[in-house]
């Protein structure tokens, strides 16, 4: 007899054919009801289907842990896919799990997870494997765990069934190339429902920068930005850097020609776990007055120093929120469709990068 007062109950199964999968899941639910104590009511519920495409077993384990932690707030059918197109022989194995967690009182929310190991040719046709497993009438979110190849994910078939694609452009070896691929998909389809974790990590920076210009004394200077410097850690400027520059350029409608001088650079520095940006500086001039805003990460806080030639000296100190992977994915699951501000920042970021690269070549 299982201990029904445990916080979590797990039942598992294995099938080697997708045909058997649905029936096996139903059997797991029945078993949970049969073995549950009278006082416990497992609730079968799902608000979305989360498809996590993983590069290897280790990233699948990481994704499974995130899904497990999110189940209480985002009960979902999770489909974890580990695809190896070079493995032989061709085939698909599926491991199923039903995990029920107490949510207070006698209620338990049960989340389903299906882990698919895909070998050989089927790895090139993941959409055909996943589509029959999607739950009807609820959103589908595709999460690219780590840095799986982008081509399949950005294909029109996938964009047609996914409400949102969650990825981390800074997880790829060449983040700039990833941004270009995303921008080109946007141009092609006129729509890009992407939740980029690099963009999500910028939120505290965007908020502090916005807040620095909120006061009546500072707001006019947004029309007089002359210089922007952004520095990130690493060998090359990160996607975060480019997106932040692209965001400022798009929001402040900077012209391609005659706009502020923009410098995006990288410095090998102590690795920051929760993002790559080390600092941002803006220098503004308007009607003979000057203003400077400098934002730096200082330990566990983000500190903005604001000063003007007219003598204003103010500051903003914010806790540097430390969103871990679970929090970042959870935040993305609350969004749907295209983030227009992101798409505009992305387009300007890739244009700025191209201009800077052309300048460097000359």
């Amino acid at each position: 007899m299982p201990d029904t007062h445990q916080a979590t109950l797990i039942r598992g199964g294995h099938v080697s054919s997708l045909h058997a999968l649905s029936a096996e899941l139903s059997e797991l639910h029945r078993e949970m009801l049969r073995t549950g104590h009278d006082e416990v009511r497992p609730v079968r519920t799902a608000v979305l289907t989360l498809v996590a495409v993983c590069t290897d077993e280790a990233s699948a384990d990481r994704a499974a842990e995130v899904v497990r932690r999110l189940a209480g707030n985002h009960p979902a059918r999770a489909i974890l896919v580990v695809a190896d197109r070079n493995a032989t022989p061709d085939g698909v194995d599926a491991d199923l799990a039903l995990e029920c967690s107490a949510i207070g009182g006698a209620e338990q929310i049960c989340a389903e997870s299906v882990r698919l190991a895909v070998r050989g040719q089927p790895a090139l046709h993941l959409t055909s494997l996943v589509t029959p497993l999607l739950l009807p009438d609820v959103p589908v979110v595709l999460w690219l765990v780590g840095a799986p190849p982008l081509e399949q994910a950005l294909h029109a078939d996938v964009l047609g069934i996914c409400e949102r694609i969650v990825l981390d452009s800074d997880a790829y070896d060449d983040p700039l190339q990833t941004l270009h691929a995303l921008a080109s998909t946007h141009r092609e389809h006129g729509h890009l429902p992407v939740g980029d974790m690099a963009w999500a990590r910028l939120l505290p920076w965007r908020e502090v920068l916005a807040q620095s210009f909120d006061g009546g004394d500072m707001l006019p200077f947004l029309r007089g930005v002359r210089r922007l410097d952004i520095e990130s850690s690493g060998a090359h400027p990160s996607a975060e850097c480019w997106l932040l520059a692209g965001w400022l350029a798009s929001r402040l409608r900077w012209q391609q020609q005659g706009g502020p001088t923009i410098t995006v650079r990288a410095r090998e520095a102590e690795r920051i776990e929760t993002g790559s940006i080390l600092g941002v500086e803006l220098r503004c001039e308007l009607d003979g007055n000057t203003a400077e805003v400098s934002v730096r990460r200082d330990g566990e806080t983000t500190v903005a120093s604001i000063s003007t030639g007219a003598g204003l000296a103010a500051g903003v100190t914010r806790a540097a929120q430390v969103p871990d992977l679970h929090a970042l994915v959870g935040r993305e699951l609350q969004e749907s469709g295209e983030d227009r501000i992101y798409s505009q920042a992305l387009r300007r970021a890739t244009a700025l990068a191209a201009t800077q690269q052309r300048g460097a070549r000359r």
């Binding site: 609730v43 608000v47 209480g72 707030n73 985002h74 949510i103 207070g104 009182g105 209620e107 929310i109 939120l203 505290p204 965007r206 908020e207 502090v208 920068l209 916005a210 807040q211 620095s212 210009f213 909120d214 006061g215 009546g216 004394d217 707001l219 006019p220 947004l222 029309r223 400022l248 929001r251 402040l252 409608r253 308007l286 009607d287 007055n289 200082d298 330990g299 566990e300 806080t301 500190v303 604001i306 204003l312 103010a314 500051g315 903003v316 100190t317 914010r318 806790a319 959870g330 935040r331 699951l333 609350q334 983030d339 227009r340 501000i341």
Partner: protein
């Protein structure tokens, strides 16, 4: 600067808050009191930590007690640490603490506001608050009129002559003791402040689940067509507290359950459940609709008061395994007190939507548990083809077999929505049982809900009065409650008839009898 500033900050587009308030000084009168420590400053710190307040935002504590800025900061830090939703982080706290000032005031004495005026002038100069003010009157009701008039006399209630400049006044309930004193208070406030400068706070309206009531009703197409007398049998609103008067016996003796809960919280809930759809979510539009509903609430006439209302007072009893004293044994309460700690009312609304569909409301102290719920009880099916197929369990709970549909909106705790409907019990036989479909607010959204005071303080600074009570709302709620108070006054309870309910029970028997007379019963919570 010669160039006109842009109207909005373009960098805010797409962020959590697309508009932040201009820098201002929030002056808390009664700053040495409990509310400042427990609620106001923790809420203001959480807003600061969340980046929702502008640089330069300043809190000025004002009270009779002598205190330095440093002592004020120390006391508050301690409270934020112990009671705040967001614990203080050293660097962020230090930044916030720079904007905490204190001024000793004397509400009556000549020159009693001088120190405050001096501190505010310094704050304007050093922190760029530009004369923008929010005055929060966290003081006993008797002092509110005095302070409001004094602010006017000192020239402190004027709106600064700058673009977007503001000067606002937040007042806490109780807004008077009856219709007449409520109007007196309004006259005092209006002597120095225009109505649009006055924000009457009812923290219930800042609760996410209360705001969700409007979203639930007006953002979903399927419920509103059913939201009428045609489909709804009656509505039950319960605001139950398991605590007693918690050392506030003296205050409670003056107030009672009707003034303390019904006049404000419950009448607001009645308005939100019963109002017509507003054309938009602008403050005046929403409040116009609420007032229309409150005007339609039928006054309970003198000779109906005993049939349509029930008063109760708790005696000793047991709650959650603990022996608790009766009301008359509480400190500050006389041994022959007649004050009501429980009230149940049958309310009729005279309009096309609700005629013939009563609202039953009840509130009380020392009830078995803390719960605020609104239950919409739908009418029974006009004809049931399933008679004889109902399970014993359901039959026992209903009069004739199939339980009518019930929609429950839980405000606190376990915030959420439950819909009860009948379902076939699996098996060869046709058997029907009531089942519940639950939506749990907390488990559907990852984001932690802000405290009610965070939302309301920010709204006030932004000039959004939607969630604050307007003078005519207060008047209408008092019109209804004052009629009951008048009826009760002419029929005082017999001294020996009280207490009439045991702590830990759902109120006096008469409350159940009132429902039974209409062929209905209170829900078991």
């Amino acid at each position: 600067m010669a160039t006109a500033p842009p109207a909005v900050n373009p960098l805010r587009e797409g962020l959590r808050l697309e508009r932040t308030p201009p820098p201002c000084a929030l002056v808390i009168f009664g700053a040495s009191g409990d509310l400042t420590r427990r609620k106001l400053v923790p809420a203001l710190y959480a807003l600061t930590a969340g980046g929702l307040l502008p640089p330069g935002f300043t809190v000025v504590g004002a009270a009779r007690t002598e205190m330095s800025d440093e002592q004020f900061r120390e006391t508050l830090r301690d409270s934020v640490e112990k009671l705040g939703r967001v614990p203080p982080q050293p660097e962020v706290w230090n930044d916030f603490a720079k904007g905490l000032r204190y001024a000793q005031v004397d509400f009556e004495a000549e020159g009693g506001f001088d120190q405050l005026k001096q501190v505010l002038a310094e704050v304007d100069r050093e922190r760029g608050t530009g004369g923008n003010r929010v005055y929060y009157l966290s003081i006993p009701p008797s002092g509110i009129g005095t302070v409001a008039r004094r602010l006017g006399a000192e020239g402190m209630s004027a709106v600064p002559d700058t673009p977007g400049g503001f000067c606002r006044l937040i007042v806490e309930k109780p807004f008077g003791r009856n219709l007449e004193t409520a109007r007196e208070l309004s006259r005092d406030l209006h002597h120095s402040f225009a109505e649009e400068q006055i924000y009457r706070i009812d923290h219930y309206l800042g609760k996410e689940t209360v705001q969700n009531l409007l979203v639930f009703r007006f953002a979903n197409g399927i419920f509103e067509p059913l939201w009428t007398r045609q489909y709804i049998d009656h509505v039950q609103i319960t605001v139950a507290e398991s605590i007693g008067v918690e050392g506030r016996g003296k205050y409670y003796e003056e107030a009672g359950a009707l003034r303390d809960i019904v006049q404000n919280h419950i009448m607001q809930l009645v308005a939100l459940v019963g109002m017509e759809p507003p054309a938009d979510f602008a403050a005046e539009t929403v409040r116009d609709e609420k007032v229309k509903l409150l005007r339609a609430v039928r006054p309970i006439l003198d000779d109906e008061v005993m049939a349509s209302t029930v008063r109760g007072q708790y005696g000793p009893g047991w709650i959650e395994g603990e022996r608790v004293p009766g009301y008359r044994e509480e400190p500050g309460v006389p041994a022959d007190a007649l004050r009501e700690t429980f009230v149940a009312i049958k309310l009729d609304i005279d309009n096309w939507r609700w005629a013939g569909t009563p609202f039953y409301v009840r509130t009380g102290k020392r009830l078995p548990k803390r719960a605020t719920e609104i239950a919409i009880q739908f009418r029974e099916v006009p004809h049931s083809p399933f008679r004889g197929h109902v399970t014993e369990q359901t039959r026992a709970a209903t009069h004739d077999g199939i339980a009518p549909n019930l929609l429950v909106l839980r405000i606190q705790p376990d915030e959420g929505i439950t819909l009860r409907f009948g379902a076939k019990v699996p098996g060869q036989a046709l058997r029907i049982r009531s089942v519940s479909m639950d939506f749990l607010y907390g488990s559907a959204f990852l984001t932690e809900s802000p405290e009610a005071y965070e939302r309301l303080l920010l709204d006030c600074m932004l000039g959004d009065a939607t969630l604050f009570a307007r003078v005519d709302e207060v008047d209408e709620a008092w019109r209804f409650c004052t009629a009951i108070l008048d009826g009760w006054r002419s029929r005082p309870p017999d001294r020996d008839s009280l207490p009439n309910y045991e702590a830990g029970t759902w109120g006096p028997q008469e409350s159940h009898e009132m429902m039974a007379r209409d062929g209905r019963s209170w829900r078991r919570l």
